[in-house]
């Protein structure tokens, strides 16, 4: 299925490696220790709750090390979706940037330090910022030893 190493060199030559393809690394946002910090770091407007953003996360995470989440929207103007974890040591988990060639929909898995809200923040081309959130309970599992 996966052809690998040889392709890497080819693609590197074609300038397709991430460093060339992506907007500037959002250091300030990734350093943020609160939702406000991240909003400031990304230089975006205050997010408004929206039913147009579909956000899926489990009610309970059997282990905070891996929490499966997904976000999608049918709104045409959404360019980026950022995932924020309210009570993690650093709030921003990741930002996905969509072109017109993909659906505005992504699944990923995050780490959570404790029970808290997780937010999917959708940033639109016209500067509007929408979000959906859900509380995920992180439980202690196993024998605890």
């Amino acid at each position: 299925m996966t052809r690998s190493a040889a392709v890497a060199a080819l693609l590197a030559g074609a300038g397709l490696l991430p460093a060339h393809a992506q907007s500037v690394w959002a250091q300030a946002a990734f350093d943020g220790k609160s939702i406000d910090d991240v909003i400031k770091g990304l230089g975006i407007a205050k997010p408004v709750a929206s039913a147009d953003i579909t956000f899926t996360a489990p009610d309970i995470a059997e282990n905070g090390a891996v929490v499966p989440i997904s976000a999608s929207t049918a709104l045409p103007g959404v360019k980026r979706i950022a995932f924020l974890v309210e009570k993690n040591p650093t709030t921003l988990a990741g930002i996905f940037e969509f072109t017109d060639a993909v659906e505005t929909s992504v699944k990923t898995r995050i780490k959570m330090a404790q029970t808290c809200n997780v937010l999917a923040v959708a940033i639109m081309g016209d500067g509007k910022v929408l979000y959906a959130q859900k509380e995920v309970k992180v439980t202690l599992g196993g024998c605890g030893g």
Partner: protein
């Protein structure tokens, strides 16, 4: 050297669902080893996906993306035989690119 990714790209409707598993520690920089020394952060920072060589999706990741990351997305208009390639780079500057054919 890093291990290869597992990429599955399957046609569905008018596009293709792409599922990617990457082999990476995604160390937070907050954990301590047995000797009490902080294990430095080591994580993928940027990811990009391309369809037949043209970038379709990019991402920036922090330390809170889970170890051995899994990501899924849908490429519009992708057909069987098309090439999907995924690249990542981490904060050590290590890079990896793997490719799969849409089935």
């Amino acid at each position: 050297m890093s291990d290869p990714m597992r990429i599955r790209a399957q046609t569905q409707g008018s596009g293709a669902v792409v599922r990617v598993l990457m082999s990476h520690e995604m160390e937070t920089g907050l954990r301590k080893d047995a000797a009490g020394k902080t294990i430095p952060a080591w994580h993928i920072t940027e990811v990009s996906a391309a369809l037949n060589g043209k970038t379709v999706l990019t991402a920036q990741w922090g330390t809170a993306i889970a170890k051995n990351p899994f990501t899924e997305f849908v490429v519009k208009g992708a057909k069987a035989g098309d090439k999907i390639s995924i690249s990542w780079v981490d904060n050590h500057g290590d890079r990896r690119t793997d490719e799969a054919t849409v089935a």
